[in-house]
Amino acid sequence: MEKILVGLKRVVDYNVRVRVRSDGNGIETDGVKMSINPFDEIALEEALRIKERGEASEVIVVSIGPSEAQQQLRTGLAMGADRAILIESAEPVDPLSGARVFLELVNREQPGLVLLGKQAIDNDNNQAGQMLAAIWGCPQATFASKIDIQGSTATVTREVDIGLETIEIELPAVITTDLRLNEPRYVKLPDIMKAKKKPLDITPIADLGVEMASAYTNVAFDPPEQRTKGVMVQDVAGLVDALKDKGLI
């Protein structure tokens, strides 16, 4: 195949303890460490490995997000992507609109494969890949833990509740990645510097002509309830008493 399109979302680093903004309208991102969504990084790593095996010739990374998402795209370029596209949107984009943006890019770029993370760790929606496959009218293989490409078919091992499922799909297709697919590579400083010279195209989201109707509105953001401190019980009888005390049994 010629091209692989990979989505890279800018998210709060997984190790940061997120806080709700003081206006209650979202989470605090000022001065907070941001990274590539970990599943997306895995998707990019897989795309690069496919390319390195000679099964693709170009890896394009795409981010829909604020201007700062250029940082994540630059990291993607440093890992080895060939070029980057930022669809700039100051406002968060819901999964369906995101899928429509990707469809527009798919129509322009005609990739043989779109690799996305199974979900972004900010909203945990787990929807974009499935929606894109549906509106594109192409096969999908979600939660991939192994991907094998032979010509125009892909054999994908999926992590499902009952174990592993292996399916074969025709390309072009959408594949979403799970945690065990691979371990993304480290990036070396010289590659970071070289990545600064690779093409990064910025298009305001409004210029795409994509319908941005949001299917839902956010009503409220609340931090999870604080866990109360545990108590030590002496023995099983003590445990039973404690549970009874709380009216749990």
Partner: protein
């Protein structure tokens, strides 16, 4: 009699006498020290500590304070007589005050270091002391050993984090010096005496600590360098250009790296090709991330560094730190080892490592030097693993001979045979040998003045 008295003072929750339950308190992490004791008391308040001290002093019984028992020199382990009382601070683990506006907090001695860091982070402040044992060691132990760790290059040792102390003295008096002042010239600064005293002058029961603004985003990099001297030169260049942004600068030898990759699960190689030495570098960036990248590129171009990998997310940062923090654990799996926690002037680190390794190999053929440490502080953990074929106990018998060899070289460079782990029971002879009579005499005078009846952790330090 004394035992009953002590039990009454500390209450039911506050003591252990069951031999099996005592065991973890009586031996050290590395297993190199074992002691005996009939009781461990765990007072719940400074008042109880004071009462315990008075009771012990009255009966002429000496006390060994213990924090997280992660010390490496036997300081927290009682002697073999079984007559000493072990006093554990672990129940005194309250945070008494936390003031983000004042950039200070007051904590009890038994607070685990990681909990103190977390409490500070909770109010958007930094408590910078950080070491591999931070999940177990306690503030009281950290201050009593004047612990160092990985952030010293920017924030200084434990001593520099202390604004005030509360100490139970040898006569049972409680000195409340929990001030949070930055400036205070009212007489002798007596808190300094207790810091690094390893429990020989009094029992620290609480401390007021200095907090810092949280640094901007932290970046972590692993740098491949040719030799320790290149690491020293690299440090000089980066410190000069980035000044306070350098937060950690840790040297790791290839052998240390290999042992970690071999023995520690979930570690992985950062560079495809091995380098003889590595530096783990951490620096804070504000908006200036780009500037740092530029400086780093320059050090590659000038040949000081061979290659640099920058962590692109916190997962990779943790992976890099895991390598550094696992060295001791990995080295354990390679057989017996002898460790030397030494410091030399920062500029001499490179020369020292080369000279000491050469001397070791001449005298102990086949021994494997595993050197790593905080180059930014001139602190080298110059550890030596037994030859692969050698007999472990025979190797360990050479402890003193090897130590003298290493310490003599350290002395030639104007260094210290004890950089951050303290003296404890382990290095008393070295203290007498490498410090002047005048210096020892002053230490003895201080000890005599504060603890005339030798109740506080006798047999340690002096």
């Amino acid at each position: 009699m004394l035992l009953d008295q002590l039990k009454t003072i500390v209450g039911d929750k506050g003591w252990v006498t069951d031999p099996e339950a005592l065991e973890p308190f009586l031996s050290e992490w590395r297993d190199s020290f074992h002691g005996r004791a009939a009781i461990v008391v765990m007072p719940g308040s400074s008042g109880e500590v004071a009462a315990v001290v008075r009771a012990c002093a009255a009966s002429g019984t000496s006390i060994v304070p213990q924090g997280g028992n992660t010390g490496l020199c036997g300081g927290a382990i009682p002697d073999a007589t079984g007559t000493q009382v072990l006093l554990s601070l672990s129940r005194m683990n309250r945070i008494r005050a936390l003031s983000p506006a004042d950039y200070s907090m007051v904590v009890e001695a038994g607070c685990v270091l990681a909990d103190v860091q977390a409490a500070a982070a909770e109010v958007d402040r930094l408590f910078p002391l950080s070491l591999a044992a931070e999940g177990s060691c306690q503030i009281g132990g950290n201050l009593s050993t004047n612990a160092g760790g990985t952030n010293v290059v920017r924030y200084g040792t434990a001593r520099e984090q202390v604004l005030g102390l509360e100490v139970v003295l040898a006569n049972g008096d409680i000195w409340d010096g929990l001030r949070t002042l930055r400036k205070d010239t009212s007489g002798y600064d007596i808190r300094q005496l207790f810091i690094g005293a390893e429990g020989t002058l009094g029992i620290i029961t609480a401390a007021s600590l200095r907090l810092f603004p949280r640094p901007g985003t932290l970046q972590t990099a692993l740098v491949a360098v040719r030799d320790p001297q290149a690491a020293v030169d690299l440090f000089a260049v980066l410190r000069g250009r980035l000044s306070d942004q350098v937060q950690a600068f840790e040297l790791i030898s290839d052998r240390a790296m290999r042992y970690v990759l071999k023995h520690i699960p979930d570690t992985r190689c950062v560079f495809a090709e091995a380098s003889p030495w590595y530096v783990l570098l951490e620096f804070s960036t504000s908006a200036a991330g780009e500037a740092v990248e530029h400086e780093l590129l320059q050090v590659i171009e000038s040949g000081l560094a061979q290659d640099v990998v920058l962590a692109k997310n916190s997962r990779e940062q943790q992976q890099m730190w895991r390598i550094r923090h696992s060295i001791s654990e990995a080295q354990k799996r390679e057989g017996a080892s002898l460790k030397h926690d030494v410091s030399v002037p920062v500029g001499a680190v490179g020369e020292f490592i080369v000279a000491a390794e050469k001397a070791i190999l001449q005298t102990f053929p086949g021994a494997r030097v595993v050197a790593f440490g905080h180059v930014g502080d001139g602190n080298v953990h110059f550890n030596v693993s037994q030859a692969k074929s050698a007999d472990a106990s025979h190797f360990l018998q050479q402890r003193d001979a090897m130590a003298s060899l290493v310490y003599d070289i350290v002395a030639k460079f104007g260094g210290s045979f004890s950089a951050e782990h303290g003296i404890g029971a382990l290095k008393r002879d070295a203290l007498r040998e490498y410090r002047s009579e005048t210096e020892i005499a002053v230490m003895r005078a201080v000890k005599k003045a504060l603890d005339p009846h030798n109740v506080m952790n006798p047999g340690k330090v002096l």
